[in-house]
């Protein structure tokens, strides 16, 4: 019945041609929702976003369209979500970089500028070497690097990114000096690794899944407390001999502009949770080796607050800490 009234309302609105203000329609959503992805099409975040909303129509009654708004390490897209009209029709993927913008002095933008919806995934870093590398374990690499400071080349996906900070904080704690080689994303990093141009690569563990399965590289350790279900034979960082009490994770989540009306937020939170639990999405994440972790808005906020605390010393150790006050 309600649905019918909503439909009639819609029809009426169409006949007039427009509704003058938003928010007249009581039902939400009445038109397609836009999901802004701050990274380019074809990348990891984009793929997850598209997979997540593939069946959104089932849960929202409308489509959720992914729109890529790229640039500035995600600051452009994420910033545009934070300042969008808070009517609930624009939501955005928020990613790890959001935790670093303020700390690195890049943009005055943090999780506090959003009405958080949920956490989607949390990936640990992995350290891998080429299949033909002389090193079999992380300990061998660290020992060699200790004796020859600044010789071992470590590729990562960009300065100040999660993987750079993950390996840098391990290196700092263990007093090892690496020669860091920044690449522009995960794909060139792993290509450089299997091409033999760098000694060690830090990437998300899911990002090297295919090459690992094909036997083209060896994963020395995963930077987490537990082993990864898809890589049962890869030791955790502690098992490899370098305990790490606060590992840095890459994360992706969903947020809406601050100030979206409560009832609409409820719809969004419920709808995206259903999308998140959709068997098709779960299956895809499984294939990708992507550890899905759900956190509700409160839990998500707590996680992000903790993240900033972990990142501060890590950024300091690589000389990138320049917080905006």
């Amino acid at each position: 019945m309600l649905k019918k009234i909503g439909l009639m309302f819609t029809v009426a609105a169409v006949m007039i041609g427009f509704t003058v203000t938003n928010g007249i329609a009581a039902k939400f959503p009445t038109k397609d929702i836009t999901l802004i992805c701050p990274w380019s099409a074809g990348g990891g975040t984009d793929t997850i976003a598209r997979a997540l909303v593939k069946n959104a129509k089932k849960y929202f009654g409308v489509n959720v369209n992914v729109v890529n708004k790229t640039g500035g390490m995600g600051a452009v897209g994420m910033g545009s979500v934070a300042t969008a009209r808070p009517d609930g029709y624009i939501v955005g993927m928020i990613t790890f970089q959001l935790s670093t913008f303020r700390l690195m002095g890049l943009a005055d933008l943090s999780y506090r500028d959003y009405s958080l919806i949920q956490l989607v995934n949390r990936s640990p870093a992995s350290m891998s070497v080429d299949a033909e590398s002389r090193w079999q374990t992380l300990k061998q690499v660290m020992d060699y690097a200790k004796e020859n400071p600044g010789i071992v080349t470590v590729g990562h996906s960009g300065a100040g990114g999660g993987w750079h900070l993950a390996i840098a904080s391990i290196a700092t704690v263990n007093k090892v000096k690496f020669n860091y080689v920044p690449f522009d994303g995960a794909a060139p990093t792993r290509t450089a690794l299997i091409g033999g141009h760098i000694d060690l690569a830090t990437t998300g563990i899911d990002e090297v899944l295919e090459l690992y399965k094909a036997g083209m590289l060896r994963i020395l350790a995963v930077n987490a407390f537990e082993r990864h279900p898809l890589f049962p034979e890869v030791p955790t960082i502690a098992e490899a001999g370098f305990p790490n009490p606060s590992p840095i994770f890459d994360w992706r989540g969903l947020g809406a502009p601050e100030g979206v009306p409560e009832d609409r937020m409820e719809v969004l939170i419920k709808g995206f949770k259903q999308c998140f639990e959709d068997p098709e999405f779960v299956k895809l994440a499984d294939q990708l080796g992507l550890p899905l972790v759900y956190k509700d808005p409160e839990g998500f906020e707590e996680f992000l607050a903790g993240m900033e605390e972990t990142l501060e010393p890590a950024l300091e150790s690589v000389g990138l800490l320049k917080p905006i006050e």
């Binding site: 819609t10 041609g17 427009f18």
Partner: protein
């Protein structure tokens, strides 16, 4: 040759401009040295480029002085230039208008005004071509490519 003298002046001006710009960039990017994480930091590439730019500027000035400037082939038509500036003004107005009355309507107005300004004859021809174009592109973006366009105050319900 008058035109060559024209170009000579322009070349000397541009050369000096390049020298100043290059020096400024070199100086400005030197500040990035402080935030160095790597030996070849963010200042490295801009400083190479600005050095080359200064060199090019010097060469340009020297060549022009020696009378080696190219002869100019084409000059800006004054009347046409004014027309261009006005057209740019109309376009800037359109960018603001679009955000108030929406993409489809704003575009129709813009096209019609610009066509009229350029002196296109036939009222119906102008009206039809501007409306058809804006509607076609609007529909393509909205329904085929699903790209959000400014809606303005008339927020379509779906």
């Amino acid at each position: 040759m008058l035109k060559r003298a024209d170009m000579k002046r322009a070349d000397i001006g541009a050369g000096i401009g390049l020298i100043i710009l290059g020096t400024w960039i070199f100086w400005y990017s030197d500040a990035y040295r402080k935030v160095v994480v790597y030996i070849y930091g963010p200042n490295f590439f801009p400083q190479i480029l600005s050095t080359l730019m200064v060199l090019c500027g010097v060469t340009l000035v020297v060549r022009a002085m020696r009378g080696k400037a190219l002869a100019k082939r084409d000059r800006i038509d004054r009347q046409g230039f004014v027309r261009t500036v006005i057209a740019i003004g109309i376009c800037i107005g359109y960018l603001y208008l679009m955000q108030v009355i929406g993409f489809a309507m704003g575009t129709s107005v813009f096209l019609f005004v610009l066509m009229t300004f350029l002196g296109q004859q036939g009222l119906m021809k102008r009206v039809i071509s501007s409306i058809v174009t804006s509607l076609a592109v609007w529909a393509m973006f909205r329904y085929f490519l699903v790209i959000p366009l400014p809606t303005g105050m008339f927020d379509f319900t779906f």
